[in-house]
Each structure stands twice: as structure tokens, then as C-alpha cells.
Symmetry: C2
Subunit: 196 residues, 2 copies
């Protein structure tokens, strides 16, 4: 079991509806020491790729992606969820359905910040049905840039997003894959991964 | 002129309606080297305070606050803008009007993550009319915690938020205060500050 799986078992809370609450250390309160360890692990797993930019989506991906970008010594870009008056000019746009909020959003990235032939590492905190990640991939490819990998903190392995995106040929690394959880007993089953 | 003011003059763009676009380095694409320098400067300015937690609000404050929390060696908490099914239990709530999006949001922080007598440093990227900052202050005080300071990257000095919050007795440090800007000439006038 790796450092993240241990932390999830210690502080994660399983709620009904397949909700895994990790808000005490990942996506509401952030344990910065843990986030730095996550960032170093993504650096290790994607170290051979010529990453020139880290891309994530607001909000909870931002803190993680910022430390990953620091590890690679490159800028970080976060996609925004709705058109703001502060974001004008030409945009790449994708549609994303949120599992958490049960609604549909456009996500946008300014064309200025994704160049052709750029090598992009996409980072997010959760992967479930894969809609957010597919939106980010579509934006990178609209720019003519290369998706060199997708680094996910927690994947819900019992949903189809991870499998679908790996089947499309993308290199997805999830630091913890939850294959099953039970809100009555609180038990969490992680997938064995060779990388640990 | 400090490092941030220099960077704003180099890469910031003044748009009509008193909009200052800093999306190439601060709030869409993030220059992580600059963010680290900003974090070290907040550490220097609030170094005598016994900070136990850094608080910000999603989304663009998160990357900055995460590096500030690293400098202080404490956790970071970000307030969320709407009730999510992943955030249950007891919450502190404040109402905030967004200048950028022209709408009203509730911002929420789980009561678990702000304890009585905790010493909180509030961090945000912009201070204009001060609504977001006042919402965060109100949440900290609802918890019986202490606002030890407010660290702002860019303050619009020609709006009333900064003055109002300083008049209430809070220690606000803004790394750059824009007293005037002109979208026709692109000129930006910074306030002289003794700290630089």
C-alpha cells in the first residue's frame, strides 16, 4: 500500500452513493506535505516525458497541479468552468458534465496558453466517469499539443472513466484506484498496481 | 518598484472597465516561480504572527495560498462557492457578491477545518470591493478564530474594499496596490508602500 492509500484509509470517509470524502487533506483542507509527496510521485512516474506545461481544471485540481508544475519546472494552466469577463479573446472550449454538482459546464482555456506541439501533463484530483478529463484532453488536442500523460490522485475504478481513457491510448497514472467501497462498514478496496 | 509590480507592468494588460488582466502569470496560467516569490514575501510580512492555517477561496486563490501554507508549514483551507453533495455536515456560511461574475454566491467552510482560537492568514489574488475578503473574515470570526492578517496579491486601490477592511482594524498587506490605470494608454500607477 502506498502513502496515499494509507492516508485515504486513515482519513477518508465513505458515504452512501459511492462518495469518498477526502476533504480533510485533499479537496477542502489541503495537507501541503502530502500534496508535495503526491507531486514528487507524479514527477517520478512521468519523468521521461518532455513535459512543458501542466494543465488542470478549477477548483480542487489547482493546488495539486501547482506543486506538480513546480516539480517539472514548467507553468501550470487551469481550465475555467464558465466564461468570465476577465477571460476574453480566443478560447478552446469543451463541455463537461459534473458528477458532483449534477450539471453541465463549459470549460475554457485561452488559446494563448496552449501552443502547438507543447507537451502537456494533465492533473486532477478525481477520475470517475472521466468527463472532466476527456474535456481537458479535447482542449489539448484542439491546440495541436500532445497529451503526454494524465496524473490522477484518486480514481474510482468501478466507474468507466479510467478504462475508457486508457482504451483510447492515453497514459493514465492514478496514485490510488478504489475498486470498491462500502458506506456501511467504511471499507475501501484498492486495486493492486505494479507502480507502488 | 517590487518584483510583482515589475511583472504586472511587463505582462499585465489594462482593459476597459477597470479590468487588469494578469492571466498569463497569476490567475489562468500560473508562473510557479513567481508564485513562490509571492509566498516568500507573505511569509516575510506576516512572519511574527503565529499562523496556524491559511484560508482562501476557490478558485484562483488556491495556487497562491497553497505555496503560502507551505512557507508557514501549516494546512490550507479553501472556501467553496456553492453547496456540493461532497460537503456535508456543519458549515460556516457567508454571502459574497462577485465583481467578476456579477452574481451572488454563498461561500462555505466546513466547521471541522476552522477551530476556535486558531490563527488564520487569509490569502487572495485580488482585492477590489472587498466582498470576498469580508466573507472570509466573517467565516473565521464565526469559528471563534483570529484573523492574523490578510495577504492580497493585487489590490485595486481605487475601489473601497482595502480601505474599509483596514478601517475595521485588520492587517492587510497587498503586494501591489493599483491606484489608477488607463485602458487607452495601458498605464498603471502603483501606490508607494513602505514595505517594498
Amino acid at each position: 500500500m502506498n502513502f496515499l492509500e494509507k492516508r485515504i484509509l486513515k482519513d477518508g470517509i465513505v458515504k452512501s452513493g459511492n462518495v469518498l470524502k477526502v476533504d480533510s487533506f485533499l479537496n477542502h483542507q489541503m495537507d501541503i506535505t502530502l500534496i508535495e509527496e503526491i507531486a514528487r510521485e507524479f514527477k517520478r512516474r512521468f519523468d521521461k516525458k518532455p513535459i512543458s506545461k501542466v494543465l488542470t481544471i478549477e477548483a480542487s485540481g489547482i493546488g495539486i497541479a501547482a506543486f506538480v508544475a513546480k516539480e517539472f519546472g514548467v507553468p501550470m494552466v487551469f481550465a475555467k468552468k464558465s466564461k468570465s469577463i476577465n477571460v476574453d479573446g480566443e478560447m478552446y472550449v469543451a463541455e463537461v458534465v459534473s458528477f458532483t454538482h449534477k450539471n453541465k459546464n463549459q470549460i475554457i482555456v485561452s488559446k494563448k496558453f496552449l501552443q502547438q506541439d507543447e507537451h502537456v501533463l494533465i492533473i486532477d484530483d478525481f477520475l470517475a466517469n472521466g468527463c472532466a478529463l476527456q474535456g481537458l484532453i479535447s482542449i489539448v488536442e484542439s491546440a495541436g499539443a500532445v497529451v503526454d500523460g494524465c496524473g490522477i490522485v484518486i480514481e474510482k475504478g468501478f466507474q468507466y472513466g479510467g478504462r475508457a481513457i486508457r482504451n483510447m491510448g492515453y497514459h493514465v497514472e492514478s496514485l490510488a484506484i478504489v475498486d470498491a467501497m462500502d458506506s456501511e462498514t467504511g471499507s475501501i478496496t484498492f486495486r493492486d498496481q505494479k507502480n507502488d
